[in-house]
Symmetry: C2
Subunit: 204 residues, 2 copies
DNA sequence: TTGCTAACCAAGCAAGCGCTTGGTAGACTG
DNA sequence: CAGTCTACCAAGCGCTTGCTTGGTTAGCAA
């Protein structure tokens, strides 16, 4: 952040900045895909959002589908690290599940919301191969959930099948993007609390 | 099924059958929209599914969007009557909620699954006006839920906000179309039981 | 027999799509 | 200073899309 960092940023500003445009394209794609859906977003719209022409998009990505794949790939990475962080931050199983729920809701409604919403609800826009690919990437994410739920089952905190419970939870949490307003009277902690309340009996 | 019915079917085969083709188009549309999504289903595919050419589709419907709207409209009607039937069939609030959950899951996985899945997950493919229209149609359906949940709250069966609870339940149930296999080891009653188990403490 | 209508076909239009091509300005490299 | 490379533009290609148009056939009523 000292002089050298400043000079570096100046140099980067003068030199071609592939990563910058690429990143901006991914951000715009996540936003547009979330707002209008993958199919309804044209490459031309995407290009306009970052101030280039449609053909130039294919200098950064080989196809439109690859953009969607890359949005999901980078999103899943962030999802995994967020969830992992939440998982290790708690010392009891009960607290761990609360943190996991909170983390997932924050992923869905915080700054990462565009990419996460796209990853949750638009995987069917990918071809079969790439669909399998991101599905296998999500496994690591789901495993964190399943481990915590298995633990909760063994400790008698829940008495439902971890797999089924996780699936129901996925739907409940994911669907919040269609009704929960982050700025409203209900805080994200409130929401997480309500979800938690459905999982186990007691939760303060 | 006697001679007269046979003659009737012969006559129907000879006479123009607008309603028949219309109905078949709606069925095919529900199936194709569910399988590939609205945007990825072309009018030509739709026409081919019922054995006519693409232009002929517009003799029955004024636009592709109207087909989607009509699929949703007729589906919501069936959803409301199914839910109403389930609601009045139970005499206790607890049983009523179980029946509601069972009914919604049956809508999602029974013969109506195509239209219901489309109604649940593809309303964003409609223009803003028609989106509001089917949203207002769904209100009656949601009100049945909210009344039952309000009743359960007053009787102490649940202790969460009915509105929030319903939204979480909507997601949990709706998401089952992505993982629950109707023919598998888990029956629909089992699934309904699991969902119910998350709602209140005890449920045999 | 004539007239009317529902239900369709055959052909194709205008617009938009994802993507390709050939070229160029500007910064860096040897 | 020549050569190279990145990042882009300008133009447009081939294809698909939703939808239209004009005409045809079969059934029915008067």
């Amino acid at each position: 952040m000292s002089v050298s960092a400043y000079e570096l940023s100046l140099q980067m500003a003068r030199t071609p900045r592939l990563d910058d445009r690429r990143e901006r394209l991914l951000d715009a794609a996540a936003r547009l895909f979330r707002e209008h859906g993958y199919e309804r977003t044209s490459v031309r719209q995407l290009a306009e959002a970052v101030g280039i022409l449609s053909g130039s998009v294919f200098h950064h990505f080989s196809s439109k589908e690859e953009i969607l794949l890359e949005v999901m790939r980078s999103t899943i990475e962030r999802m995994i690290s967020s969830l992992h962080e939440a998982s290790v931050s708690a010392d009891t199983t009960e607290a761990r599940l609360f943190q996991l729920i909170r983390a997932e809701l924050e992923l869905l409604h915080g700054p990462t919301r565009d990419g996460v919403a796209v990853t949750f609800f638009q995987w069917h826009s990918l071809g079969p191969d790439k669909q399998r690919h991101i599905l296998s990437m999500r496994e690591e994410y789901e495993n964190i959930w399943l481990e915590a739920l298995q633990q909760a089952l063994e400790q008698g905190l829940i008495d439902t099948d971890p797999f089924v419970t996780r699936r129901l939870l996925t739907g409940a949490n994911g669907w919040t993007i269609y009704w929960y307003q982050a700025g409203g009277s209900m805080s994200l902690d409130d929401l997480a609390g309500q979800v938690c309340h459905l999982l186990f009996r007691e939760r303060k």
